[in-house]
């Protein structure tokens, strides 16, 4: 690689999290996400992925360790060039508000002028393919469309870092595959020409390999980084990639990391039992 290293968007340095109940959610985790990257965090349910994402989102403070966003502390988050957005496991739309009002919420909170906000909402809805649904209520949309509305709400602020917490986990496989492909389009800058930076949490190996440039594999709770698998497959990725040998190889590499960890854990548990 000859080109200059891109700027780090977020940097986690030996971050741990122990909850007040005494539950250890995260062992020391270090992670750097560079500008324009699409990184997935992969791990079994309850491995602390969501906790880790919450720390990246500055919603949860780490117990120990340090987090820097664009080289700075959490104070400047939200300012221009330091905008975060998050998409949750469920669409988390306000059921009493129309799709347009839901998408407009982040802009309303900062008091953006009405005309400007309306334009931004229309653009965001168009980007996710919901242009005709601005005045629908969330319950009138399918699960996949609700999730698109949720993504539009995240995109409307033009975030510099987009966090996604198993966004398509509750959807059927076919809808999920379509939304994954669309997400890649959005990441590459469809509609804006500017590439996004995305941290994507999932428990699906196939989704992780298909989407990301690198897959960070986490262990079962307490979560720690087992290893990384680089997916140096060019974009745009076609559906053919999903059934290719290259795809299978990367998925196996991820699987092996998980299997090794599971074997290690079983061995440790066995030693404990013998003691």
């Amino acid at each position: 690689m000859i080109r200059a290293a891109p700027r780090a968007v977020v940097h986690l340095d030996r971050v741990t999290k122990t909850y007040a109940s005494g539950t250890r959610a995260l062992e020391p985790v270090s992670l750097t996400v560079a500008e324009g990257e699409l990184v997935t965090l992969l791990g079994p349910s309850g491995c602390g992925k969501s906790t880790l994402l919450g720390i990246v989102a500055a919603l949860t403070a780490p117990s120990t360790g340090a987090v820097r966003w664009w080289g700075e502390g959490p104070e400047r988050i939200g300012a221009a060039g330091h905008r975060l957005a998050m998409v949750f496991q469920s669409a988390t739309l306000m059921p009493w508000a129309r799709v347009a009002s839901n998408v407009c919420l982040p802009l309303d909170l900062v008091g953006m002028p009405r005309a400007e906000a309306t334009r931004a909402v229309q653009e965001a809805l168009a980007r996710v393919g919901l242009a005709g649904f601005a005045s629908s209520y969330p319950r009138e949309l399918s699960g996949g469309m609700q999730m698109r509305a949720s993504i539009a709400r995240a995109l409307v602020t033009e975030p510099d870092l987009l966090l996604m917490d198993e966004p398509f986990g509750a959807l059927d496989e076919i809808t999920r595959a379509r939304l994954d492909a669309e997400l890649l389009g959005l990441w590459a800058g469809r509609g804006t020409g500017k590439r996004l930076t995305i941290v994507f949490v999932t428990h699906s190996i196939y989704e992780a390999v298909y989407l990301s440039q690198r897959v960070v594999v986490l262990s079962a709770r307490p979560g720690r980084v087992l290893g990384e698998v680089a997916v140096d497959e060019p974009y745009p990725r076609s559906d053919a990639f999903r059934v290719s040998q290259r795809f299978a190889d990367r998925a196996r590499a991820v699987q092996e990391l998980l299997v090794e960890a599971a074997a290690g854990a079983a061995e440790a548990a066995g030693t404990d039992a013998l003691r």
Partner: protein
């Protein structure tokens, strides 16, 4: 789909109406057949007669009872909502005061009414106060629960965009609480009517400000059972009317809120 829904609605009206007709017919038949005196059980036709004859008296009394009921309901909603907002803002406040709200709720109003009537000189005000005590609890408990029943994801989202406490309250907590609040109103409005009637029983208002409770009491003492029945019917229909008004209000406000609002009476 809409045909099905229409026939379901027809069923909801037609079925209970059918039951009422059968019961009324049986009642009339039995009273006539066994020649039951009307000071024990009057026949439906005799009750209807009393209803028509004493219509002026009954509506005048109803107006008194209704005024107390509505005043108490309005006060209960205002004060109850205010208390719920305070509770929702501070767990500490809720923990310290909620037990007293429960005490207020479980103490029989008949037992407290004499005290209130001694303390509050104005009879009307005393009656309203009694009815408020009966009606306020569902407003407090439902609204407090509603203000706390916020989608945690939306709360995280609000925090992420650095929403202020007020923004979270108005944009998230208040709309989230709406269905709970309206469910509370449905219970509370009926309780306000019950509270108004019970308080009047205890206070025994004078002839000038006599409400329906006074008429029932008097009719009972005079063995004017047809009038007693007629007053009861007026009272019951008023309660049903108030409840229906709350259902209509909540449906109008919450029409687009939630799936549960699409078929309200199927779930209840």
């Amino acid at each position: 789909m809409s045909d099905l829904r229409r026939s379901a609605r027809l069923l909801r009206v037609a079925a209970p109406a059918g039951v009422a007709l059968v019961v009324l017919a049986l009642w009339q038949l039995l009273v006539v057949a066994y020649d039951v005196p009307k000071y024990i059980v009057p026949s439906p036709l005799v009750v209807l007669h009393a209803l028509v004859d004493d219509w002026a008296l009954l509506t005048r009394s109803l107006a008194v009872t209704l005024r107390i009921t509505l005043a108490a309901f309005a006060l209960a909603v205002l004060a109850g909502t205010l208390v719920a907002f305070l509770f929702a803002q501070s767990r500490w406040l809720e923990a310290s005061l909620f037990p007293y709200a429960v005490i207020l709720q479980v103490t029989p109003i008949v037992a407290v009414a004499p005290l209130i009537i001694i303390w509050v000189r104005d009879t009307q005000a005393a009656l309203v106060l009694c009815a408020v005590i009966v009606a306020i609890f569902p407003v407090i408990s439902n609204t407090t629960l509603g203000l706390r029943s916020v989608d945690p994801g939306l709360l995280d989202l609000m925090r992420m965009y650095k929403a202020s406490r007020w923004q979270i309250l108005w944009r998230l907590r208040v709309p989230s609480a709406a269905p709970y609040f309206f469910a509370g109103l449905r219970i509370s409005v009926g309780l306000a009517l019950i509270g108004a009637v019970v308080a009047e029983f205890v206070a025994g208002t004078g002839a000038a400000g006599a409400g329906l409770a006074y008429q029932i009491l008097q009719a009972g003492l005079q063995l004017n059972v047809p009038l007693l029945f007629a007053a009861l019917i007026v009272l019951t229909l008023t309660g049903v009317g108030l409840f229906a008004a709350m259902v209509l209000l909540s449906n109008a406000v919450l029409r687009n809120w939630h799936e549960s609002m699409l078929a309200p009476s199927n779930e209840e």
